[in-house]
């Protein structure tokens, strides 16, 4: 049970609306009383309206039964039995109060109600009270269902946001430990032979980690930022792999300011190196292409691969992550297409092209 407070009394505007409805009921009852006998409508209202409010307040207690007897999952016999019993008790209290109130009015204000009305009052009270209670019970069930569905909607939304955040977090945490340790090994190696290159490598690594940390918290970035991250990553790996790794960027001028989700290219470029080129003795070229056509931004990462490579651990995780994030963000307005050939691997992404916000 999410909230034990009564959904009507918990909010003032709801309580007012609720009582207004019961005032309407009281007016109706007064009209019937006035119509049946000689009683003036005004006096009939003086009698009926307080009764309506009383029935309204009594009906609030329905909510507690609605909680323990949910419409779905309660056997029908038990549902009906309990409600008939409870309704009978509530009705009996109300009718007794109404008759008492009529007697009181007769005694204190003889001109208010005439005899005919008072004599035929009990069946009318029984009928109108039962009808009022029935409407109140059904109303409560509807209210609970409404509350549940809005709550479920809100929870689903929260879950989606949470899922996206955790995906991004895991993407950042996925920064390959291999990458870190191998890069440090390269630095250690370079210090002995080429101190300048070692220094440059330190700056590249600092730049890479700084950029990837900064991207993690954002929802959308300019493609130029994502490309800069990929370039830094590849520059580091080029130091490590030497001539075996070659890179080519084919980027159209007009796409640099377009918006992309952060870390949309990075996992693909990492895969291209670690699961593609790294398995080739002679190495190969990683190609990154970006261009715009027909209102879509097309991103493409392509690399050669070894036909005999063992199915590598974790190769699918990065790709799966990119795919599910793009799917959650754009639905069928975007697509991720993977073409795995024996000696070549290519991932192309189509996104709706929109300008990134500056800053």
């Amino acid at each position: 049970m999410a909230d034990t407070r009564h959904p009507i009394t918990a909010r003032r505007e709801r309580l007012l609306l609720y009582l207004t409805v019961w005032l309407g009921f009281g007016t109706l009852l007064a009209a019937v009383i006035a119509f049946r006998g000689e009683t003036a409508f005004g006096w009939a209202a003086v009698y009926a309206v307080p009764l309506a409010v009383l029935l309204g307040l009594q009906s609030l207690s329905c909510w507690y039964l609605v909680q323990v007897l949910p419409a779905e999952g309660t056997p029908l016999a038990r549902l009906l039995g309990t409600w008939v019993g409870a309704g009978f008790v509530l009705l009996a209290i109300w009718v007794a109060a109404a008759l008492g109130w009529a007697w009181l009015l007769r005694v204190s204000l003889p001109q208010a109600l005439d005899d005919d009305v008072v004599n035929g009052l009990t069946p009318l009270l029984l009928f109108s009270g039962a009808a009022g209670l029935l409407v109140a019970v059904l109303g409560h069930y509807m209210l609970v269902a409404f509350e549940r569905s809005t709550q479920a909607e809100r929870r689903a939304l929260e879950l989606r946001v949470l899922a996206r955040e955790s995906e991004l977090r895991s993407l950042r945490e996925q920064l390959d430990p291999h990458f870190l340790f191998n890069s440090l090994n390269s630095v250690a190696a370079l210090i002995g032979t080429d101190a300048q290159a070692a220094r440059r490598m330190c700056f590249l690594m600092a730049g890479f980690f700084r950029k990837s940390l900064a991207l993690g918290g954002k929802h959308s970035i300019a493609l130029s930022e994502e490309l800069s991250l990929a370039e830094t990553f590849l520059a580091i790996e080029e130091v490590r792999f030497g001539e075996r790794l070659r890179t080519r960027f084919d980027i159209a001028e007009d796409v640099l300011t377009l918006a992309v989700p952060p870390l949309v290219l990075q996992p693909l470029v990492e895969n291209a190196v670690h699961h593609g080129v790294a398995h080739l003795i002679e190495g190969g070229e990683v190609m990154v292409r970006a261009r715009q056509r027909e209102g879509l931004l097309e991103l493409l990462v392509e690399n050669p691969c070894d036909p005999e490579r063992p199915p590598s651990r974790g190769a699918g995780v990065g790709l799966q992550n990119v795919r599910s994030r793009i799917n959650a963000l754009f639905g069928n307005r975007a697509s991720v297409d993977v073409k795995a050939e024996e000696r070549n691997f290519r991932v192309s992404i189509l996104l709706p092209a929109s300008q990134a916000r500056a800053g």
């Binding site: 291999h178 340790f181 191998n182 090994n185 190696a189 790294a278 398995h279 063992p310 651990r313």
Partner: protein
């Protein structure tokens, strides 16, 4: 001590060579940039010790060791980060170094290697090592077979069946046979059990190649393969194993 450096990254090789050049009694006799080269150089140069990178293209460090078998020199493994490999090293008391390699640790590992060489401590079984380095629940994906100086990589899904012949196993694949020195029990435990069934004392069958089973005699059957001509004997236990798997 004569040392062979094996790493696919030239920087990493240069670094190790640089460190070793400053040490007494250490001679780098060769450098290999991949597993194939490593196997070739290890046999040609017979070094005392290999500094062997685990992750390399084509052949992993474990596979290099497996191919060299009893001709393998003493080994110190090098890895950047691989929890399964590290566990295997611990289990089999194999020396290893982590990247970036610290000179002091390198020196200590070389000292230990030297002591082991003097004491003639045998290198652990490469297959047992590779076995415990494989993530749990992950069957063998390829079989390495040496034929003279050549190394064949046989992906397991290309294997039709395996036949035991004396001390050897004969791997049948697309009508061809390749021989390897290994026991049936060992290969059976390495391959995917939902795919390879021991249908007979001497036969392990890739069930994807099975076309039908014919009765042959009392308590024996014949497995007819998809090529239509190959018939393999099926024993009583083999038959019930097949039944269990295919239903």
């Amino acid at each position: 001590m004569r040392i062979l450096i094996v790493d696919d990254e030239s920087l990493a090789r240069a670094y190790l060579a640089e460190q070793l050049s400053g040490m007494e009694n250490m001679e780098v006799v060769g450098q290999a940039a991949n597993g194939f080269e490593a196997v070739k150089l290890a046999e040609e140069l017979s070094p005392d010790l290999m500094l062997l990178d685990v992750q390399m293209p084509k052949l992993s460090g474990f596979e290099v060791l497996e191919l060299l078998a009893e001709r393998a020199p003493a080994v110190v493994f090098i890895t950047a980060h691989d929890e399964f490999a590290l566990r295997a090293f611990e289990v089999h008391a194999v020396d290893y170094l982590m990247k970036p390699v610290e000179p002091a640790r390198l020196l200590a590992a070389l000292d230990r290697a030297m002591e082991r060489l003097k004491a003639h401590v045998p290198t652990p079984s490469p297959r047992a090592l590779a076995e415990s380095a494989r993530p749990p629940g992950r069957p063998l994906e390829r079989v390495l077979i040496r034929e003279g100086g050549r190394v064949h990589v046989l992906p397991v899904d290309k294997i039709d069946f395996v036949e035991a012949q004396d001390d050897y196993l004969s791997f049948a694949s697309g009508g061809k046979r390749q021989r390897k020195q290994q026991t049936m029990a060992e290969i059976e435990s390495q391959l995917d059990r939902s795919r390879f069934v021991r249908i007979h004392r001497s036969f392990l069958l890739n069930v994807e190649r099975l076309a039908r089973i014919e009765p042959y005699a009392k308590d024996s059957w014949l497995a007819v393969l998809a090529d239509g001509t190959t018939r393999l004997p099926v024993s009583r236990t083999g038959y019930s194993r097949l039944k269990e798997l295919i239903g």
